[in-house]
Structures are given as structure tokens and as C-alpha cells.
Symmetry: C2
């Protein structure tokens, strides 16, 4: 690799690094503002995140969801109370072990989940606009690499 190539790649790395930092914040903000323009006006970004998690991991217990989201059980209880009151989630007492509460979305919750998921899909489609199959595979590989990196650092 000659030094010109090296410098150019370095600049690309810096561009990608800088872009990543700010993009996510903006996406979070846009997600919230889009959802609040819709019929789901009473939902914050954090609640959206919780609905997403419960939708993705259907009928998990309160403790499992708390662990996934790295929230204390007390905090999750408070959040669940709000989402239950607003009609997005239900608590289902497990009949095999009545200490356990399984969490699920209501039909209103599922509507919100799908609207949110559709927004993400639209974002990804926009992101990969004009990419062919192999390019998409590359992108997938990059994300797998990040997941591996996260796994390594977490394991240390």
C-alpha cells in the first residue's frame, strides 16, 4: 500500500468514525418525532425502545427483559406500569410458576411495533439504495464484525 492510498483510506476511516457518532443520536430523535406525529403521540423514545424489545422477545419474563435492556427490575416495573396504563403491553401471570410475569404486546402495541419496524426498514433501504447483492452481503459482514468486536470486548 503506497502512502497516498493509505492516507485516503485513513480519511475514509475518520469520515466513517465521525459519521457514526452523530447519526445514531439523530436517528433516535427522528424516530421519536415521527412516532409522535402518528397516532402514537403518548410514546417517548425510551418507551418505543421497550415496546420494540418486548415485541422482539415475545413472552419473556420481566427479569429477562430487564437484563436485556440493562435496567434494574424496579425501573422496568415503573416503565411497564406506564406502558400498561397506555394500553401497549400486558402482564400475563405464568400459570406454571405464579411468581413469573410474562410480557406481551397488546394489539395497539403490535401496531406501534410494526410502525417502528417499518421505519427502520425504510432507513435501511435508503441506506442501501442502489447496492447490489454482493454489496449488501458486505454490509452484513461489517455488522457481524461489529457484533464480534462487541462480544470480544464484553468477554474480556
Amino acid at each position: 500500500m503506497n502512502s497516498t492510498e493509505s492516507d485516503e483510506i485513513k480519511a475514509d476511516y475518520n469520515f466513517i468514525s465521525d459519521a457514526l457518532v452523530d447519526i445514531y443520536d439523530q436517528i433516535m430523535r427522528i424516530e421519536e418525532s415521527e412516532i409522535r406525529k402518528s397516532r402514537f403521540k403518548d410514546i417517548t423514545a425510551k418507551e418505543l425502545h421497550l415496546v420494540h424489545t418486548i415485541g422482539l422477545h415475545d413472552h419473556k419474563t420481566t427479569s429477562e427483559v430487564a437484563r436485556i435492556l440493562r435496567l434494574s427490575k424496579g425501573t422496568l416495573t415503573a416503565n411497564l406500569n406506564n406502558l400498561e396504563r397506555k394500553g401497549y403491553i400486558t402482564r400475563i401471570t405464568n400459570q406454571q410458576d405464579r411468581r413469573i410475569i410474562n410480557l406481551a404486546l397488546t394489539s395497539k402495541g403490535r401496531l406501534l411495533y410494526r410502525a417502528h419496524y417499518a421505519f427502520h426498514r425504510k432507513l435501511v433501504e435508503q441506506c442501501l439504495k442502489g447496492f447490489d447483492g454482493p454489496a449488501i452481503k458486505k454490509m452484513k459482514q461489517a455488522l457481524i464484525n461489529v457484533e464480534d468486536f462487541i462480544g470480544e470486548v464484553s468477554a474480556k
Copy 2:
């Protein structure tokens, strides 16, 4: 495009969409835990973000930084008090207009900024491991597409 290709691409889109959602949370968490293992044990993820912003936008005013981070001025003042007390930032009264405070990193703040930046670079390098020049350009294009999408949605 035949239906098999279409289904495969759809699956890839779903994979990418799902992966993106959880990766960011994990990165934030790892960033904080890595920084707390280092000599900068007194820094939270939010403070790291603020130091990053002040480092990136040197000598901006308090109001400008508040706008960039979408924080109220009062909240930013509180955060700045903490970071000043811990020795990461300084407030510099602007001599042309003495209402204005310009924000800058101390040398300790710059050390933290560089350590954080290095972590990001390492993450990007890991992410693009084994990618050649054109593939890296594609990745850059994907991010530009996202930025455009964000711009469009924000402008609406």
C-alpha cells in the same frame, strides 16, 4: 429479480435492520465500561459524549453546544459544572462579548477525547477488517445515504 433473490435480499435487510437496533446500545455501554477501566474513572457515557462534542467543536459557545446536543441551557450548565470540577473542560469568557462563554477541553479533557476517538477508530477498523478500497467507499456511501435520509425527514 427472481423471487429467491428477492427473499434473500429481504432477509438481509431484516438482518441489518435488527442488528442496527441493538448494536448502538451495546457500543454505548462498552464505551462507558472501557473508559471507566482507564484513568478516567469518573466519567459517565453522557459526559463522554459531551467531552466528544466540545472536542469536535472547539471554542463553541454554551448555547451552540446546547443546540447541537439538544439539551436545555440549564441542563448543559449543570453538566459543564461537573466536567469543570473534574478538570475536563474550561469556560473561557469571550473578550469581544462578555455575555458569551466559549468552551474548550483542558489537557486532561483532550487526553480523554483522544482515547475515546481511538476506541471509535478501533471499532471502525474492526468493522471494515478485510475490506478493500472500493468496499470502504461503499460503506461511506451508505452512511452518506443515511445522512441524506435524516436530512430529508428532518426538513419535512
